[in-house]
């Protein structure tokens, strides 16, 4: 890759890294894991950069790699598991109730991987149903059911004890 492309790529990473890490945090549940995931996705994006950039598809490309990598991880015959770093790397939120945001990330972890990804992409990033379906590699109907079930499940998980069925 030439210097121009490298600079272009570096500019893209600088502009998007915060959003990508925030997506990855929701998918993985920890910042170190999120950074590992983003790193993997960006390394792949780098290889395909000139072609992907020409198409203007860099955001979709990197999101797709991240989501599929996160989902596939749990399906491998061998997988990596980590122990006991919960809490150490979480930055203090500048607003809101810490219990709420922490509980949300924990509750997301209770969802199946595709539901977790669907709700983040659809309702935080704001992707359309079709765009979300493309990232996940599923039909638009499946995206709708994933997001609906995810929100319902999150509601149940986050409701104060005794207030849900």
């Amino acid at each position: 890759m030439g210097r121009d492309h490298r600079d272009d790529f570096t500019g893209f990473v600088a502009a998007r890294q915060t959003q990508l890490r925030r997506i990855a945090y929701g998918l993985t549940g920890s910042w170190p894991a999120a950074d590992d995931l983003v790193q993997t996705a960006l390394a792949r994006l780098y290889v395909a950069w000139p072609k992907v950039r020409r198409k203007g598809a860099e955001d979709a490309y990197v999101r797709k790699i991240m989501v599929r990598e996160a989902i596939d991880e749990s399906r491998r015959p061998w997988r990596r598991v980590s122990v006991g770093l919960e809490g150490f790397d979480h930055p203090a939120p500048s607003q809101g109730d810490p219990a709420d945001w922490h509980d949300l990330i924990r509750a997301l972890g209770e969802l199946p991987g595709r539901q977790r990804a669907a709700v983040v992409l659809r309702h935080w990033i704001g992707l359309s149903v079709a765009e979300t379906a493309d990232v996940l590699g599923v039909s638009e109907g499946t995206v709708k059911s994933h997001t609906s079930r995810a929100l319902e499940r999150l509601h149940t998980l986050l409701a104060p004890e005794g207030t849900t069925r």
Partner: protein, 308 residues
């Protein structure tokens, strides 16, 4: 929950990520990947990358011989032969090989033997990268090389974030089927599982107790070089399927406990086996493992005290 309320909560939950230095690391990692691909395309004989860097556990079968059966190279020491064998394993990631071998001749700094295999820790000549290499004796696991890169910068909060591929502060294990794969899936008749850990821990941790899903606890001493290696093959309990993706509630590795020189527990972490750190549990009455952060990525002296 409505889409709007989810968005608001997610925004608050993620709005302050810890500092990072992602761009330079991403370019570096991408360039390595690009070089690998070009070499592959030009027929340099490099195998396709089959694993994610830093997670090089493929479990793909039993094709390698024991190091004991190698043909000796005149003038080469036993360690030299092992180091060379690790470099040329079929399951290697080219990225791993490049990272460990490109700066000079690596050395073996730790080893652990089990009835099934010997795991070696190789330190790169510049001591910035180390890798693990497992050579099977009887065919429980495939030989692979995995590696860990040096760390990223220390942030103002004292928390170090590892951005290079495969690097992390997380104490991690690899868990999987104890048998070779059949058409890329675990043999349904397989009744064993494997837990592998190669970690590097601070001196305050004298040994580590691993409680595995077969109800056994294995205590492994920290070696002089700081490395802790576990390679446990256990029997799957009745009713637990062979395929790890169907394990459900089964936890291959249930608990990790750090012990001091007197054998007393000083920290512990429990896990639910899903591979998802969000689902891990705390162990009542003990500090969490984060108090003795893994040195797998070779952080600079003082970091551990700073984070503690």
């Amino acid at each position: 929950m409505t889409p709007e309320s989810f968005s608001t909560m997610y925004e608050a939950a993620t709005e302050t990520p810890p500092p990072t230095n992602l761009a330079p690391s991403a370019v570096k990692a991408g360039r390595r990947r690009l070089v690998r691909r070009r070499l592959a395309v030009t027929g340099a004989g490099l195998a396709a990358l089959a694993v994610v860097a830093g997670s090089a556990y493929a479990g793909t079968g039993l094709t390698e011989d024991s190091p004991d059966t190698q043909v000796a190279t005149p003038g080469a020491t036993a360690d030299d032969q092992i180091i060379e064998r690790c470099r040329t394993l079929d399951g290697n990631s080219e990225e791993a090989v490049d990272a460990v071998y490109s700066v000079g001749h690596p050395t073996i700094v730790a080893r652990a033997e089990t009835p099934d295999q010997t795991t070696y820790v190789l330190m790169a000549a510049d001591e910035k990268v180390w890798a693990e290499c497992s050579l099977p004796r009887s065919g429980q696991t495939s030989p692979t090389l995995t590696y860990f890169f040096p760390p990223g910068p220390i942030t103002s909060s004292g928390v170090r974030h590892f951005l290079a591929p495969g690097s992390s502060l997380r104490t991690a294990a690899a868990v999987g089927s104890g048998c070779a794969l059949v058409e890329d899936s675990p043999d349904p008749g397989c009744r064993t599982f494997v837990v592998r850990v190669t970690d590097r821990l601070p001196a305050a941790v004298a040994s580590v107790a691993f409680r595995t899903g077969d109800g056994k606890t294995t205590v492994v001493d920290r070696q002089a070089s700081g490395f802790v290696l576990l390679d446990h093959v256990g029997e799957l309990p009745d009713g637990v399927p062979a395929d790890p993706s169907e394990w459900g509630e089964f936890r291959a590795l249930e608990r990790v406990t750090y012990l001091d020189a007197d054998g007393d527990p000083i920290a512990a972490g429990a896990m639910d086996g899903s591979g998802d750190p969000m689902k891990d549990e705390r162990v009542a009455g003990l500090r969490s493992l984060e108090k003795y952060l893994s040195l797998k990525s070779n952080p600079e002296p003082g970091l551990i005290d700073e984070v503690r």
